[in-house]
């Protein structure tokens, strides 16, 4: 047989049992491989001693305290990104944007009366810090879920439909997209934000200010937002990577198609507009939170917050099944690293996002039924 590779010999230095039977037998009888092994082993030993480092004495509890206080100083968006691979910023942006779309609406606020049911979308450039600032809303009231989102991963379209009550959309996909499909579905989720005069006064006081005059009925006003149900089709391998496989590829879905009933917001006692206007007038409210609240759309337009650090956005036209075109938001570009399209049609929000070109995402969107 051929001589052993450098890689195999190097591994034998660390783990003599690692090489299989044929390799081991060859090695035993091959003076050349033995000589190469000696050179490699001596290099390895030399490097080990060169790479020595001063002793590290750590106090894990103290370190955790420092990290925890740093986290508190930099509050982040309350949603996690569960299926992202490390270092995949374009996917982070795409998912963050989709999730922010739900998150913003769920966490907050809509304008133009007591009912908000968007019929179209528009991109709103925000920074990640702006989105994260939404967690500061807890200083002005209480956010509770009356029905928590309950996302489940299933393997069949029928199961997904049973959970969400929505039929997964049918897509015409390019042959480059994996045919492995997984479904995610969640029933409707409902969140209630209750405005608190006392909490808001406390927040203003910590900024050394008094509260501005409060409209009647503001204390205890409730904003109820429902999101979903939603169903998603995830194309590409979702299974955990096997040992030895390329972890950066294995965990990354190639394409995600989402359909969700449009979020609806209702308010009690005051209009949504009064609530948001008052919130941004409170002394001590951070500029980031003000921006996040003000980014929240007008009337029947659902804002798609686009983190400016990660994504570019554009307005696009999406063809719906009856042949007409509706306004949509395009994310990303044509490099193929990551792109997506989001639009609203007939009471549902749709998103097509993946490691594809924007043109391809648009093509898939145009043929979605």
């Amino acid at each position: 047989m051929a001589h052993l590779t450098e890689g195999t010999l190097r591994r034998m230095v660390d783990d003599p049992a690692a090489s299989g039977g044929a390799d081991a037998r060859h090695f035993e009888t091959c003076p050349e491989c033995k000589a190469r092994y000696e050179t490699i082993a001596s290099d390895a030993r030399a490097i080990t001693s060169l790479m020595a480092a001063p002793e590290l004495k750590i106090d894990v509890a103290a370190a955790f305290d420092r990290v925890r206080s740093a986290r508190a100083a930099r509050p982040r968006f309350g949603f996690r990104l569960p299926v992202l691979r490390p270092g995949s910023r374009p996917m982070v942006l795409a998912f963050a944007t989709m999730i922010a779309l739900v998150g913003l609406v769920v966490t907050a606020i809509a304008e133009g009366g007591t009912i908000f049911a968007p019929t179209t979308v528009t991109p709103v450039p925000v920074s990640v810090a702006d989105i994260q600032a939404l967690s500061q809303l807890s200083a002005y009231g209480t956010l509770t879920w009356t029905t928590k989102p309950n996302l489940q991963i299933v393997t069949s379209a029928a199961d997904a439909e049973a959970i969400s009550g929505l039929k997964p959309p049918v897509a015409k996909l390019p042959s480059t997209i994996s045919t492995t499909v997984t479904y995610a579905a969640t029933p409707k989720a409902v969140a209630v934000f209750t405005f608190s005069k006392d909490k808001t006064a406390g927040a203003a006081a910590s900024a050394g200010k008094n509260l501005p005059a409060m409209p009647n009925g503001m204390d205890g006003a409730k904003l109820t937002v429902s999101a979903g149900p939603a169903v998603a089709e995830i194309f590409g391998n979702m299974t955990p990577p096997k040992a030895g496989s390329d972890v950066t590829q294995a965990n990354l879905p190639q394409l995600v198609i989402v359909k969700s009933t449009t979020p609806v917001a209702t308010s009690t006692q005051v209009t949504v507009q009064q609530l948001t206007d008052y919130l941004v007038s409170v002394p001590g409210i951070s500029p980031e939170l003000t921006k996040a609240i003000q980014a929240l759309g007008t009337g029947t337009t659902l804002p798609v917050p686009v983190p400016v650090e990660y994504a570019t956005s554009s307005k696009v036209k999406v063809q719906i099944p009856d042949g007409t075109k509706v306004d949509g938001v395009g994310l990303g570009d044509n490099t193929g690293v990551g792109a997506g399209v989001i639009w609203v049609n007939a009471g549902s929000v749709y998103a097509v996002v993946g490691t594809i070109k924007l043109l391809d995402a648009l093509e898939i969107a145009n043929h979605l039924t």
């Binding site: 590779t5 450098e6 890689g7 010999l9 190097r10 591994r11 783990d15 690692a18 290099d43 490097i47 080990t48 060169l50 790479m51 020595a52 480092a53 001063p54 590290l56 004495k57 750590i58 894990v60 370190a63 955790f64 420092r66 990290v67 930099r74 982040r76 949603f79 996690r80 990104l81 569960p82 299926v83 992202l84 691979r85 490390p86 270092g87 982070v92 963050a96 989709m98 999730i99 779309l101 739900v102 994260q132 879920w145 309950n150 996302l151 995610a184 969640t186 989720a189 999101a227 939603a230 955990p240 040992a243 030895g244 496989s245 390329d246 972890v247 965990n251 989402v258 969700s260 998103a351």
Partner: protein
């Protein structure tokens, strides 16, 4: 649409999961950074930044969490190493620290000179070979190195061998100058 909310639906609070991840991985993450920087204080800085970064965008329960942290620690520390000013400051700090421990000034000089040369050479390597050396020297198994770098386990031996040869060559170049 609600892909991001899975964490909220699980029974165990995410903060708890994050703390468990931190407790399990902090020593290794700091160890990787220390292997690169040869400076315990700066290494802990890097390690804490890495955890904060992770927490901002990922779920603590993510399967890839340890691999992500290991890779991020290696790269973040290597990036710092490449900053010239920091390197000088670190050497000063290191000399002071070693002074407490070693009774033999000649030995101390030699240790410092070796470490300085190795770190300079490491900073000149391409990111991947540098990371392979650091992760393996920090005690990660072949499987863990493979996960952190997103390569097949069968490639680790080859990458390691090439990286060791490259580092020796760089050190040689550094001393002949």
């Amino acid at each position: 649409m609600n892909l991001g909310v899975r964490a909220m639906a699980t029974s165990r609070p995410d903060d708890e999961v994050f703390e468990a991840l931190f407790t399990a991985e902090y020593a290794r993450v700091a160890g990787i950074a220390n292997r690169v920087l040869a400076d315990p204080h700066e290494a802990e800085d890097v390690a804490q930044e890495v955890f904060i970064d992770f927490h901002r965008l990922h779920s603590a329960g993510a399967q890839y969490a340890p691999a992500w942290l290991h890779r991020a620690a290696a790269h973040a520390a290597l990036n710092r190493l490449r900053g010239a000013k920091r390197r000088q400051r670190r050497e000063l700090a290191q000399a002071t620290e070693e002074g407490d421990r070693s009774a033999d000034p000649q030995h101390l000089l030699e240790v410092n000179e070796d470490r300085r040369q190795v770190r300079q050479a490491l900073a000149r390597l391409a990111p991947r070979p540098a990371a392979v050396l650091v992760l393996r020297a920090s005690g990660l198994s072949y499987a863990e190195v493979a996960q952190a770098l997103g390569v097949g386990i069968g490639q680790v031996g080859t990458l390691l061998r090439r990286a060791e040869a490259a580092l020796r060559k760089e050190i040689g170049r550094g001393t002949s100058n």
